[in-house]
């Protein structure tokens, strides 16, 4: 594993494989959470507006 570039002087964190693995999992959880949130908002929009989505002045 390559050492991550340290952009933050004063921070001593060195990426060891375990840390990288957990970071990857955290990122994955955030991605899934955001994806789920988008889907939910879309679903709610469709369910609340339903067929009336076309009822608007053009």
């Amino acid at each position: 594993m390559d050492k991550e570039p340290n952009n933050n002087p004063g921070e001593t964190s060195v990426s060891v494989p375990d840390e990288q693995k957990q970071r990857k999992q955290r990122n994955l959880a955030i991605a899934l959470g955001l994806g789920a949130f988008m889907l939910i908002v879309f679903l709610v929009t469709i369910l609340r507006i339903g067929g009336a989505v076309a009822d608007r002045p053009f």
Partner: protein, 305 residues
């Protein structure tokens, strides 16, 4: 650089926090009871809601409850660290930084309230916001370290989910959901004081003025017994107001009497014997679950009222 690392021993473990540690900030076990009571409130309420919107509403209520749990862990990290029951939580265990728990909880609070407003209505969203505010500000920040009545008043936060669920479906909060509120509200003191009886040392060390610490063991046992009697009667009130049927009446009478009998045993044991208090604590969870499960069954099968 090395000395800095020595000064911050948690830094290395922060980087090792996984999604599971953040999830446990949401107090999943408390959340499960919130989901259940809110769901019963939704099913018992008159009116209809699209199942998809109902699911999103329930999710919002669950996330809101979880968010308030994360904010509670942020505020009470110092207390949690010295109590054996809570020392393993992500912040005192050195897995999640305090500031991240605060941001996580605050973000999810806002998100859950907004999502509930989109999926149901502003009344339900407002009630959810109030629940989070009450648990975090009124209970955690203000009352918990101030008075032995902390969990009595703070219990309102835990009692609100069925009201939020009811409001999400029907858009109103008549007497019925407040009856459910009252049952949980009156259930909270005997439930937590039974726990405090056998975890008294924890609360003493942490400086939390729980009733056994401030008023002593005897007074706590008397209060538990008193509340149990009130709870047993309050437990029957859904039948009295006509929102539950005879099955519910039978369940609430039997379990209410059982609750009082266990509290009587707690009253008549001395300080050294924690057995009855532990039994009452365990039974109290079963009691609340059974009471709400019966309302659920009656609502679904049409046996109520």
């Amino acid at each position: 650089m090395d000395t800095m690392r020595d000064d911050t021993p948690n830094e290395a473990s922060y980087a090792l926090a996984g999604p599971r540690d953040y999830f446990s900030l949401l107090k999943p076990r408390v959340m499960s009871l919130v989901i259940f009571t809110a769901f019963v409130g939704m099913v018992a309420a008159p009116g209809t809601i699209h199942p998809g919107l109902a699911a999103v509403s329930l999710l919002s209520i669950a996330v809101g409850a979880g968010a308030s749990g994360a904010l509670n862990m942020w505020w009470d990290a110092d207390i949690d660290a010295v109590m054996s029951r809570t020392a393993g939580r992500p912040i005192p265990a050195g897995l999640v930084p305090k500031a991240e728990a605060a941001a996580f909880g605050g973000f999810l609070s806002a998100l859950s309230v907004a999502l509930l407003a989109l999926a149901s209505n502003y009344l339900a969203a407002g009630l959810l916001a109030f629940t989070i505010f009450f648990y975090v500000v009124i209970y955690s920040m203000w009352l918990k370290r101030l008075t032995p009545q902390n969990i009595v008043i703070g219990g309102a936060a835990g009692a609100l989910p069925p009201v939020v669920g009811w409001a999400a479906v029907s858009g109103s909060t008549p007497l019925e959901p407040w009856i459910l509120f009252a049952v949980i509200f009156l259930w909270t003191p005997p439930h937590f004081w039974a726990l405090a009886l056998f975890k008294q040392g924890d609360y003493e060390r942490a400086g939390v003025p729980m009733l056994p610490v401030v008023e002593g063991d005897r007074a706590t046992r008397r209060q538990i017994f008193g509340y149990s009697i009130v709870l047993a009667f309050a437990g029957m009130s859904p039948f009295v107001v006509g929102m539950a049927g005879y099955l519910y009446l039978a369940v609430s009478v039997v379990l209410g009497a059982w609750f009082v009998a266990l509290a009587w045993k707690v009253l008549n044991t001395d300080q050294s014997d924690h057995g009855p208090a532990k039994k009452l604590f365990g039974f109290s969870i079963l009691y609340l679950f059974a009471i709400f499960a019966t309302i659920l069954v009656e609502s679904v099968t049409g046996l109520h009222g």
